[in-house]
Symmetry: C2
Subunit: 334 residues, 2 copies
């Protein structure tokens, strides 16, 4: 063997070694992934839901968690996991989002959704859309394909159509149970905000991917029998949704007007950023102290910058679940 | 005189004395009123505006300040002062709000506004309205007459019509200069967000009344040549507007998408609430450090809980003015 050949071999070996060294830290920097979701909060008792109904909710939450977790385990982004998991919940009639959306006072449906990426601090939202099957996907397209954060009404729908997102008509969104609820409310002329025995069925997902990037997303049909054009906290960045890799990711559900006035999602982040509180402590304070004192019902799911999952709610129930960093899964209602 | 009569007289005297004592602190608790406004921020130089144009802007700002201050001096609420002052700016073609609104990419106008009361923490907002002459008044009606915070699009318009608010058609909103700007942008297919030499002509007012109650309001035509349905920070409570008697009142103007992602108005409040910073220091940090680093142009006006007025902006100009607690008035551009 010539000296040149030997040198080349050594160089190749060293290069390979360097590549290994360079690769190893990247490998070891990969985080354990985790995901959490909520499917709304409310003051319902165990007697309100049959065991069969409880199981149906739990099964759907398990399905959504698994879909999102699969994305994360395969190296997908937290934004992608949030989208896929929320789509499962939007496609189910069980939750007040997408297919299961409640009716407005006019007997129509108006959907809102938002998303935020904790790495880029980019965000997207749509509000008041009526023909988009999966509003969370429209929100993500706003974030990734436009210089804007929020599109509303027909402008949002035109954009979603241009992106070839799936549309759906009134027959898709029709649900007999929801419609009967609507007719009952219409007879009473009752706006949900005055009713304490309701579930805010908004759905939300927070996730951390292998890169340690956080994301949060929220989707809703809004408040049952709401005034047309009413928008709650779900599509409002800072109120219903927030994510910042340095602090955490938050998705809310509850009486939207109070969540807007209290800027709930960002308030939790601010307590971490400016007071050094844990995200869990901050969420508990905002939901169970600050909002509780105002008579505002609701809850929140969070993942902090280290992947710790927490859920806080001041109601008797919140549909919720997680798969933590160890891969342990749990879903719960009460 | 009988003893009973004398006793009655003494009791009456004492009662009167007590009433005086009770009344005196209330009288002395009355605060000196103050008001501040902005009419947008941007990177324009003195050469961009003729002296005549500068004077026109200044005169209109003086008019708005005086109208709001008059409300406050007469014992009116800060919310009322905010409304009256913003209406002056909305009715002028000089500012990008109400009559002077810029055109969307479709050549239409879409107006947004919001308001917040620092005493009750109640808030109101409208977004994407096209026929309401004074969106700030619609936002205030949402706050005071509905259980909601935000109404958008046709739902917001139907509500405003039911409240008999003044409407206006395309001919009212038509402005030759704005239209020519629109046609130029249309030819270039240019979205304003990429253009650094623009003025974000949003208007906003913050005020403190005799009761020491704060209020903040913001109104805009949004971003010139914006995509239809695009909503910026102006109608978003927490992003463009926030007020809390304990901390301060804030109204923003600037590149709305960044103001939403950074929850600017509430972030300033949170820095005061959680880190104990002055509102002025908090505003300077958020606008001139945090946003500046992100390449986001804009500014903010604030009144803190003691009635101290401040303005922060990271652009070369912000239309702004105030009448402080001493009754001193100042308006400025650069």
């Amino acid at each position: 063997m010539s000296q040149i050949f030997i040198r080349k071999q050594i160089t190749l070996l060293l290069t390979g070694f360097c590549v290994l060294i360079l690769n190893s830290p990247i490998q070891s920097q990969q985080k354990d992934v985790c995901i959490a979701l909520h499917g709304g909060a409310g003051n319902i008792s165990k007697a309100t839901l049959t065991e069969e109904e409880q199981n149906a909710y739990k099964e759907k939450m398990v399905e959504a968690l698994k879909v999102g977790y699969e994305v994360l385990k395969n190296g997908g982004s937290s934004v992608d996991a949030v989208e896929k998991a929320i789509r499962v919940l939007e496609d189910s009639p069980l939750f007040n989002a997408g297919k299961g959306a409640v009716y407005t006072a006019n007997g129509t449906i108006e959907l809102d959704a938002s998303v935020m990426c904790g790495k880029s601090l980019k965000a997207g939202a749509v509000a008041g859309v009526t023909i988009i099957r999966n509003p969370i996907s429209a929100a993500i397209k706003v974030m990734t394909l436009t210089p804007h954060v929020m599109l509303i009404g027909k402008g949002a729908e035109d954009f979603a159509l241009a992106q070839k997102l799936d549309t759906a008509g009134p027959s898709y969104f029709y649900d007999e149970k929801r419609w009967l609820q609507y007719l009952e409310k219409k007879e009473k002329g009752e706006l949900t905000s005055g009713n304490k025995n309701i579930i805010f069925g908004t759905v939300g997902v927070v996730a951390m991917d292998k890169e340690g990037n956080l994301a949060a997303g929220t989707s809703t049909g809004g408040m049952s029998y709401k005034k047309n054009g009413r928008v709650g906290d779900s599509p409002i960045i800072g109120a219903g949704t927030y994510a910042d890799n340095r602090y955490g990711a938050v998705s809310c559900t509850g009486h939207g007007e109070f969540f807007i006035r209290n800027v709930v999602a960002y308030d939790i982040i601010a307590l971490k950023a400016y007071k050094g509180w844990s995200i869990e402590k901050a969420a508990r304070y905002v939901i169970c102290d600050k909002l509780k004192k105002q008579g505002a019902d609701g809850g929140v799911i969070c993942i902090d910058s280290k992947g710790n999952i927490s859920a806080s709610f001041n109601t008797s129930a919140m549909f919720r679940g997680y798969i933590n960093k160890k891969g342990e899964m749990k879903v719960d209602i009460f």
